[in-house]
């Protein structure tokens, strides 16, 4: 559930590559930080591609005003 307090709204979205130790392949996760700098949300799983990761972030509010 996304926060509704404007100060707590995610302001900075971070898309981070994560290397799998097993095969050194890369997957992606996202994090969202509020204006206060506090971590507001993060992805619940990792994604094969950055595009998929962004699509998941969209569902959480990335890209909405």
């Amino acid at each position: 559930m996304a926060p509704t307090d404007r100060f707590q709204l995610p302001l900075r979205w971070q898309f981070v590559p994560v290397e799998r130790p097993a095969d050194r392949s890369v997957c992606w996760k996202w994090s969202a930080y509020a204006q206060s700098g506090r971590l507001a949300m993060e992805s619940e799983r990792v994604f094969e591609t950055l595009t998929e990761c962004m699509e998941d972030a969209k569902a959480a509010g990335y890209g909405r005003d």
Partner: protein, 634 residues
Amino acid sequence: MAGTESLVDPLIFHLVVQQVKDYALFVLDPAGRIMTWNLGAQRIKGYAPEEIVGRHFSTFYTPDAVARGWPAEELRLATREGRFEDEGWRVRKDGSRFWANVVITALRDDDGKLLGFSKITRDLTERKLHEEALRQAEERFRLLVDGVLDYAIFMLDPDGVVTSWNAGAQRIKGYAPEEVIGKHLSCFYPDEDVEAGKPWEALATARREGRAEAEGWRLKKGGERFWARVVVTPLHDASGHLRGFAKVTQDLSDRRHLQSLQDAAREVNEFIATLAHELRNPLAPIRTAVEVMAKVPGSDPAQQAMRETIDRQSAQLARIVDDMLDIARVTRGVLSLEQAPADLAVAVRHAVETSAPAIESGRHRLDVELSPGPLVVHGDMHRLTQILVNLLNNAARYTPQAGRIAVRARREDGWAAIEVSDNGRGIEPLMLERIFHMFVQGRAALDKIGAGLGVGLALARRIAEAHGGTLQAQSEGENKGARFTLRLPLLKAAAQPEDAAVQVADGAVVAKRILVVDDNIDAAVTLALLLKSLGHETCVVHDGLQALRMAAQFRPDVVLLDIGMPGLDGYEVARRLRALKRERPLRIVAVTGWGQEADRARSREAGFDVHLVKPVDPTVLTSAIANNNGATLH
């Protein structure tokens, strides 16, 4: 003849001489003392007879002339020659000077004995002043002409022989005055022009028409040719006689060279535009085929890798083709912008999505920071996104693997500022401005493949400036990262962004009946395959008449219509489709290689809802098909 005798009466003659006012007439004794004095002498020199008779005539000379014995010399010469004439300064009674013409005649008796001298003096001061003024004017004009370096200005006599030569003539033609004065003007013409009689023809034309003007090759001293513009003007004296010609020659070699460079640049530009258009057509089916292949499940890994290679390389090729078209537009000054309220936050998100493959390929961490609320500017969403895509792709390209890229959008006193920064290769200080020039690769790419044409930043800045904004680069130096800042004036609060003309469809695709019309069979078939893979029902035809027939039978919801086709072109097909009575609305989408503003305007007039330029991005195509709200995009 009593009357005649009376005229030569000495008394009458004396009276005549005495009464003359325009000339000073008087007699000197052999030593130079004044013996008589008429009215003219009194008027011109200011002395009454009683003041001057008996004095030596040197009274009228300047101290300088007296000091060098000039009065005595005049009498000596007059005595020897019988007559002496001179012009020079003389002095009046009041000390003022006048310019005098003087004639001294020796008077002798029948035996030749010297009795004295008659002296006639005219006051020529006015004439002298006029001549001096004329001389000074001529001197100024001569200095002016002599000082001109950009034009060869010289005089010819009536036969065409050089009589004067200025510094410009020396600079342009290489001859010193002493080398060329006295030569005929034909020495400046190439042999073929001399044989054709052009030098004489120029003089004849100038004489006949008052002026002769021509452009052509001329020769320098060493025989080197230069391209010249020449004007010949005849010079006549007061009585209308031809005294010669003035010739002015301008060296147009640089201008001609510049013109030829501009012509060459225009031809290259036209070639680039044509080449880009020609490349678009084969690219379209390749891109579509790759999309179709991607949707085929279970292909073996080798095939998948090859498909991905084709995908990457053809996408890069498409970008180069787009760059080529933009180069052609920018150099012709016809980069068209669609002006409408546009939210830069949306542009940032679109750009980030478009650049995702490059960022992903570099395994870069990406930070996207958007200020709350829209950042609305007046501009072209597509072009603004293009700027940001360029900056993001550059950041990905010039940042070593696993780097950091950040996009930050914020408000700044009525401006929107978007920063794209990275921790990559950085930019040398000397290159910070040069990277915005055409064809400059500002940073050594980590991977030369896909480095592009070096026009992206130049285009990006032009687009920013066309929106009233700026695009600046900052870097602390090599390997210290780079930051690009795009600033655009924010729109006043009243204006809001229009609904996007084409919305990317979310969720399930609604199946449509789609008629694909393209004379390029590969393009049509691959496009239809792509549409089928998306769940649509398709029908393919390859010319305009078939399209009209099939529209009646197939009853499509959407027609994807190429414009450049033999027979009926896409414009005419669209007009005829619009004229048909239909039970359901029909969406007509242009899918064409031509994307100029004039092409879009023409398709709009013909009844197209959407104008897409090949190769079409499948996402854009999907949204163009899905849009049912009547919105149009050209």
